[in-house]
């Protein structure tokens, strides 16, 4: 009797949960002892971890349809890839590369098109970057059908059980890179792998860093497709999203972009506008004045090319609430 190709024997992510907990506690301890640059804020941590917990429930709710679709495609696969003996190594290697490429595509879509960003944004809405941020997972990812992107792997002939395991490996790998406690790794590793340094850039809202470094495990995809940006010592990462959330309301964290999209749809004046509000880049506005990543970067580049002066930073009077008193400038 051969391996069960339809059902994974274990869930890598579930097995890793104790490790997640221990590493978070270790990171906090290192921060407390002053041994690493680590910052935690209790309400932010609570939000991140509750989002992680809720995402497991959401995952179970969508598991039925995702599983059924995957099995249907598997039964209509193109070829049978080797799953026994030494050739299985080749199957795993091919799956590793193709699954990671699929993740790159999924992740890029999740940033560059609002319908998918709406589900992914909560992973980025913390102004912190620590291991708890890694668990800040979506509750609504099943809604936007992003799981369909993995079906071609099944259609080609990779067994669902192998894909499930490889997706878990990728998610577990991406946990440890959500930290400021690790600086840069040796150059060869930084060249090939997605590292804490590369992923800090991905979570930054500085115009230079927006929509960069979509990698899962291998950063080479970003280097190949022109979306790589290295972390710079002269430009520390500012974490969060372009318009940060105004409170710690967990439901706002989950649904705010969906709500914003619905509000925009109600004010759309044409079908084309409605389509752009849903499938255009996040921040798109009909008048062109929206804060899209591309627009923000273009304006930032224009400022860099122009005079160096910063209007807001220039000296001017500062006043206390009692307008009769002028505070020292």
């Amino acid at each position: 009797m051969g391996p069960d190709l339809e059902h994974a024997p274990f869930d890598v992510v579930t097995l890793a949960v104790p490790v997640f907990v221990l590493l978070i506690l270790l990171e906090i301890a290192l921060g407390r002892l002053g041994r690493a640059s680590v910052r935690y804020e209790a309400r932010d941590t609570a939000n991140s971890l509750i989002l992680g917990l809720g995402s497991t429930v959401a995952g179970v709710l969508f598991a039925g349809i995702v599983g059924a679709a995957t099995l249907w495609v598997w039964r209509h696969r193109l070829i049978d890839l080797p799953v026994r003996g030494w050739p299985v190594v080749l199957t795993w290697l091919a799956l590793f590369l193709l699954e990671d490429l699929t993740y790159y595509g999924f992740h890029r879509l999740s940033h560059e098109r609002r319908f998918w960003w709406a589900a992914h944004v909560n992973h980025h809405s913390s102004q912190h970057y620590n291991l708890s941020t890694a668990l800040r997972q979506t509750w609504t990812g099943g809604l936007n059908g992003s799981w369909l992107l993995w079906l071609p792997l099944t259609f080609v002939g990779f067994p669902p059980s192998m894909i499930f395991v490889q997706k878990g490996v990728s998610l577990v790998y991406q946990f440890w890179i959500h930290t400021e406690a690790v600086g840069r790794l040796p150059a060869p590793l930084e060249y090939v792998l997605n590292t804490p340094s590369h992923h800090r850039v991905h979570h930054a809202r500085n115009p230079r860093y927006l929509d960069r470094n979509y990698a899962g495990i291998l950063i080479v995809w970003d280097r190949m497709f022109g979306t790589f940006e290295g972390e710079r010592d002269d430009e520390p990462c500012r974490y969060g999203i372009v318009k940060n959330l105004g409170d710690f309301n967990i439901l706002r964290a989950v649904f705010h972009e969906w709500r914003g999209m619905a509000e925009d749809l109600l004010r759309a004046r044409s079908a084309a506008e409605a389509l752009m509000y849903v499938f255009g880049p996040p921040g798109w506005r009909p008048d062109g004045g929206g804060d899209t990543a591309k627009g923000l970067r273009a304006r930032w580049e224009a400022r860099q090319a122009g005079p160096v002066s910063s209007p807001a930073a220039s000296a001017g009077p500062v006043r206390s609430p009692d307008a009769s008193t002028e505070a020292p400038a």
Binding site: V21, L25, R39, A42, V60, G246, G260, S314
Partner: protein, 130 residues
């Protein structure tokens, strides 16, 4: 949902509680001192680089900064161990609700938020240029 999943969920929820408690007890937030003139202006330069504030005001407790650039009000308010920035029409700011503690600024939109501005009852609202 299976019993095993529910048990796993309950254990995970308990672990979340432990981790949040440890994070709170560790007291390792980002250093976010009360706003002052220089700090607020630096923040404005980063968050609103295309604006040229004519004047800035800081709330009594340093938790909120307000700047004016023509018809625009540029605001930063403390949230947790950081600050959130918003802009609004100056006339909208002028009509904000006054409370015993000062002024409450409610921000619309999906990102939401409320800034409680510590503002003496004797001080004019909206902040006025002399």
């Amino acid at each position: 949902m299976s019993t095993a999943f529910l048990v796993q969920l309950a254990v995970s929820a308990a672990l979340v509680g432990v981790m949040v408690a440890v994070a709170a007890l560790a007291r390792i937030p980002r250093p976010a001192p009360p706003l002052d003139d220089a700090g607020f202006r630096r923040m404005l330069a980063v968050e609103f680089p295309e604006h040229s504030p004519e004047a800035v005001w800081i709330s009594s407790d340093g938790a909120v900064g307000i700047a004016r650039d023509g018809d625009a009000a540029l605001i930063a308010y403390r949230l947790g161990d950081g600050y959130v920035t918003r802009d609004m029409d100056w006339r909208q700011l002028a009509t904000a609700q006054r409370t015993e503690a000062g002024v409450r600024l409610r921000f619309g939109g999906a990102a939401g938020g409320t800034a409680q501005v510590a503002w003496p009852g004797s001080a004019p609202w909206p902040p006025a240029r002399r």
